[in-house]
């Protein structure tokens, strides 16, 4: 498995490195790791499905006990099937999607049409980045996502989790010359990345109280208590941000600026399911603990309803699907979060069903958008000859989404209803059932809206500015273009008619989550049950809602007008961002007022006074003051030079006297028998004096104190305090080991120097071996300092004043009115 993850990394990086050479063939290369993963998963499938997970482990920092443990159990297998299976189809689909690009033009799609909608600020002369980069980052994403679902270690899971956020950021913002794409990418990474940090805190809380970071060990021996509850809330917040749950859902519709293959892959089938995946993993362990169930169910319920309602309002097919995804993710939270295996089994079926129908639907939208140049339902006037396959695929997938028999979506919905009817013996279970029914009615309605829109039922010449509706005649999509979507639709039908083909996987995955469970087989026909009655109710209500769609739309418009003053999650995001900027600006203005003397005074006083209060009580004995007569002479030189440096008003002279202090210190080291320190000190002093003089040449030779009279005593006071503080610190620290019996660190190091460090110079061995990491950090700082010094010193290299901070520009882009702008600007 490590090899396969590494393959993703290598292939991804090579594709990116190859630049424009490959063109759209990059997607063929990108398919290799996905194919390899699929093949591997198939070879392992029989063992894994029989309940024998495949595990691999690699320790990367043994001292910190950090290991990457991979564990392929049946649930992970289902996720791998999603990530790599859909990934493979997406690669094939991208070949068609980017067919006329040849890697030369934009990777943002939608170029094929006649009515190119102008996008503000996208008038740059530079061509947008090549599709190769898109393909490469997509492979990297697939690798990260596989890491998320395969890892058994919480910290490794977090790292992969963040990698998916980063790659998603790069993919959303792939067309980096378009301000909307940048704003959307930023919003996505702020929300999911911020949630990721909260997730890390939560994982650490859970890991520390559980005593292990292994998911499998946590499952075997679940911890509990206040710390765990706090950790769970943090983990859930992380999961909610990733899976676009309310109130963090605003980034997902924004992310639809990405090219459609990306939206289909990341933002419907895989990445957004990471949060669901985590909830599914942890629910069996923690669902019974205090906050878990109320929190997950409440958030999931709100998300499912709001997503469905907003989806019903959209004219843009892609946005309709995006809000539909939000709604479905809420649904999955309801199923996996309950912590009951009957309900979770329905969740697994939904996971598969949703990936199949939603990816296919996105592909259909991509085909329409790519061929017609629009995906606004008001511009589509019935698709003509040659479009039958696309329409059939869209209709089948939408029917599965709506929950019509005999498709996979119907099975998942029925199983969910059955689960909540029969097994929800916890508080609020009935309420959740009602929410699911209402949410499913909305789902039916927006699925119907999608299909009707595809068939041109919403065609509105007024909205199209008098232009003729698009019929697609003359632009028939090629077979290769719609084939991947058709394969998914075939899966939807076959798995619906003969659920036995996924039954083994679903049952094994349920057992992987809930080891002691006995899942029921997945079946299309479960008899005349209450769930069936509810399904029929949903279908009936959904049809009714679709029939009166004009009135529903009118009603929604009124309600949204009424609700307009209320803050949306978009406003919340912008508000938080603006708030942070304002607070940071004020805080900086207060703390960093620009006065160097005040900075220095504050820094040194804090550094000295804080420890001094503790040290002063320890000051009970003094070492011998003078060991050898040489000390007297050296100290006399140091004192004289130090006093001189603070009295003279000649810069170069002052610098030289400081140098004299340093040399005399080196002499003190020699007297104490530390030639290595002396040598270092000596060379440092030489060089720093030279550099000092080098810089001081630019300043006047002398200076005059022009500060108010009061400041001189104040400065003397600060200096005295610092001097006394350092003095006390030196005395106390040199005497601190007097009462301790254990051998000191230095003795240990002296002993270890010869056998472990293979050398006799202990200082050097400490520097390069025992504390090698520190040295690494220090030389890195040196490099940064050197670069900084040069860029500060080089005159004539002023920052361009016209260059506004990028961030504000992006905030402005967010401030535009949301609904209209989404329809117009969010074209992939």
């Amino acid at each position: 498995m490590f090899v396969l993850l590494a393959l993703h990394l290598v292939v991804g990086v090579s594709i990116i490195a190859s630049g424009r050479v490959l063109g759209r063939r990059a997607f063929l290369v990108a398919a290799i790791p996905a194919l390899a993963m699929c093949v591997y998963a198939l070879t392992q499938a029989s063992g894994v499905l029989d309940g024998e997970p495949v595990t691999e482990s690699y320790t990367w920092i043994s001292g910190l006990d950090l290991a990457i443990d991979l564990r392929l159990d049946a649930f992970a297998l289902a996720m791998v099937a999603l990530v790599s299976g859909i990934g493979l189809l997406i690669c094939l689909y991208s070949l068609g999607y980017f067919a006329d690009e040849h890697g030369e033009h934009g990777a943002d799609g939608g170029h094929g049409g006649h009515e190119e909608q102008p996008v503000a600020g996208d008038e740059s002369a530079d061509p947008p980045p090549a599709v190769g980069r898109l393909a490469g980052v997509m492979v990297l994403f697939a690798g990260s996502m596989l890491g998320v679902v395969l890892t058994d270690h919480l910290i490794a899971l977090f790292i992969f989790w963040e990698l998916t956020s980063v790659t998603s950021f790069l993919l959303i913002g792939n067309n980096d010359r378009q301000p909307r794409a940048r704003a959307a990418a930023n919003q996505a990474v702020f929300i999911t990345g911020g949630g990721g940090l909260v997730l890390l805190a939560g994982l650490i809380l859970i890991g520390q109280s559980g005593g292990t970071y292994q998911l499998s060990e946590l499952a075997a021996d679940p911890p509990s208590g206040g710390m765990v509850n706090a950790g769970l809330v943090c983990v859930l917040i992380g999961a909610f941000t990733k899976s676009a749950q309310a109130p963090f859902s605003s980034w997902l519709p924004m992310a639809m600026v990405a090219p459609t293959p990306i939206s289909a892959y990341l933002h419907s089938a895989t990445m957004v399911k990471a949060g669901v995946y985590l909830v599914a993993r942890l629910a069996p362990i923690f669902a019974l603990d205090g906050v878990w169930r109320p929190l997950v169910l409440a958030v999931g319920a709100v998300t499912m309803i709001i997503g469905g309602l907003r989806s019903l309002r959209q004219h843009d097919l892609k946005l309709l699907l995006a809000y539909g995804t939000v709604s479905q993710l809420g649904f999955m939270m309801l199923l996996f979060g309950a912590g009951d295996f009957h309900i979770a089994e329905a969740g697994i079926v939904l996971l598969l069903a949703h990936a199949a129908f939603k990816a296919a639907l996105f592909m259909v939208v991509g085909i329409v958008d790519h061929t017609l140049g629009t995906r606004d339902v008001r511009h589509i006037d019935g698709l003509g000859r040659g479009w039958a396959p696309v329409l059939v695929v869209g209709a089948i997938s939408a029917a599965s989404m709506a929950g019509l028999p005999p498709l996979l979506g119907f099975i998942s919905k029925e199983k969910a209803l059955d689960g909540y009817l029969e097994h929800a013996d916890f508080t609020g279970g009935t309420l959740v059932l009602i929410v699911i029914v209402i949410g499913s009615v909305f789902t039916f309605a927006y699925s119907a809206r999608f299909v009707l829109g595809l068939f041109g039922m919403f065609h509105d010449p007024a909205a199209a500015d008098g232009a003729h509706g698009e019929t697609g005649a003359g632009h028939v999509p090629s077979v290769a273009f719609w084939l991947p979507a058709a394969l998914l639709a075939v899966f939807t039908v076959v798995a619906g008619v003969a659920p036995v083909i996924i039954d083994h996987l679903v049952e094994a995955a349920t057992v992987a989550l809930y080891p002691s469970s006995e899942p029921k087989p997945v079946a299309l026909w479960a008899g005349f049950t209450a769930a069936l009655a509810l399904s029929l109710l949903i279908i009936g209500a959904g049809v009714a809602l679709a029939l009166v769609r004009a009135r529903v739309e009118e009603l929604q418009r009124r309600i949204s007008k009424l609700l307009a003053p209320l803050p949306s999650s978009e406003d919340g995001f912008v508000g938080v961002l603006t708030g942070i900027t304002v607070v940071a600006r004020r805080l900086t203005a207060t703390l960093q007022n620009g006065s160097l003397p005040i900075y220095v005074s504050v820094i040194v006083l804090v550094a000295v006074l804080a420890p001094l209060t503790g040290f002063i009580t320890e000051l009970d004995s003094f070492p011998a003051w003078v060991d050898t007569p040489a000390h007297m002479a050296v100290v006399a030189v140091i004192t004289a030079a130090a006093l001189g440096a603070s009295i003279v008003h000649h810069r170069i002279a002052a610098a030289l006297m400081l140098g004299a202090v340093g040399y005399a210190m080196a002499g003190l080291y020699v007297a104490q028998g530390a030639p290595d320190l002396a040598l270092t000190q000596f060379s440092i002093e030489t060089l720093s004096t030279v550099l000092f003089v080098l810089v001081l040449r630019f300043l006047p030779r002398t200076w005059r104190v022009r500060a108010p009279a009061l400041t001189t005593p104040l400065r003397v006071l600060v200096c005295s305090v610092v001097g006394v503080g350092i003095f006390v610190f030196a005395i106390v620290s040199s005497e601190s080991r007097r009462d301790v019996d254990e051998p000191s660190m230095s003795e240990e190091m002296i002993e270890a120097a010869e056998p472990e460090g293979k050398g006799q110079n202990i200082v050097n061995i400490i520097l390069v071996d025992f504390r090698g990491w520190d040295t690494m950090g220090e030389i890195t700082v040196l490099v940064v300092a050197a670069v900084g010094a040069v860029s500060l010193a080089r005159p004539g290299r002023r920052r361009d004043d016209n260059e506004a901070p990028v961030f504000e520009e992006e905030l402005d882009a967010l401030d535009e009115p949301t609904d209209e702008a989404e329809a117009e600007g969010v074209r992939g």
Binding site: D676, L687, R701, K758, N761, V763, N764, V783
Partner: protein, 160 residues
């Protein structure tokens, strides 16, 4: 000036040899990459005092930032290569070999790390000279004109 120039000619290369000794012997005797780099820095400073920035610029064929980066890369490389070989990070290997003339010599991969540190320090010094040095070794007669407001104030103090 003649004395300085002549002394530089003699001393410059001697100091470089000393620096080389420091980095090679550092593991067992006083020295090490850090000191060695500083010593090279001192030699560079000597060149600067006698020949100005032009003399400094001709010392190395590669730009200062390349030295800097190469040093960090080398140090990081020695830190991470053991990881690839299955050891823990920054693990070092050593071997004792018999060489003609030198006798028994102990070789240690830690020297590579030290050379990396050495190069970083050298690069830092070179960059400092690149940033602040100019061909006019003597202090400029007028203060460096950074801004118009401060210049008169400086001149007043300088004249007193």
């Amino acid at each position: 000036m003649v004395i300085l120039d002549t002394a530089t000619k003699v001393l410059y290369h001697s100091i470089l040899v000393l620096a080389l000794y420091f980095v090679l012997a550092g593991h067992n005797r006083p020295g090490g990459g850090f000191v060695s780099g500083l010593t090279v820095g001192a030699a560079v400073a000597l060149r600067y005092v006698s020949g100005g920035a032009a003399a400094v610029r001709t010392i190395f064929r590669v730009p200062a930032h390349v030295i800097l980066g190469a040093g960090l890369l080398l140090a990081a490389g020695t830190a991470f290569v053991p990881l690839l070989l299955g050891e823990s990070i920054l693990e070092h290997a050593s071997a004792t070999v018999q060489l003609p003339l030198f006798g028994s010599v102990k070789l240690n991969t830690v020297i590579l790390f030290d050379v990396g540190v050495d190069l970083v320090v050298i690069g830092l010094v070179m960059m400092a000279f690149a940033a602040f040095a100019d061909d006019n070794v003597r202090p400029p007669s007028t203060p460096y004109p950074t801004s118009e407001q401060s210049a008169p104030a400086h001149r007043r103090t300088a004249d007193q």
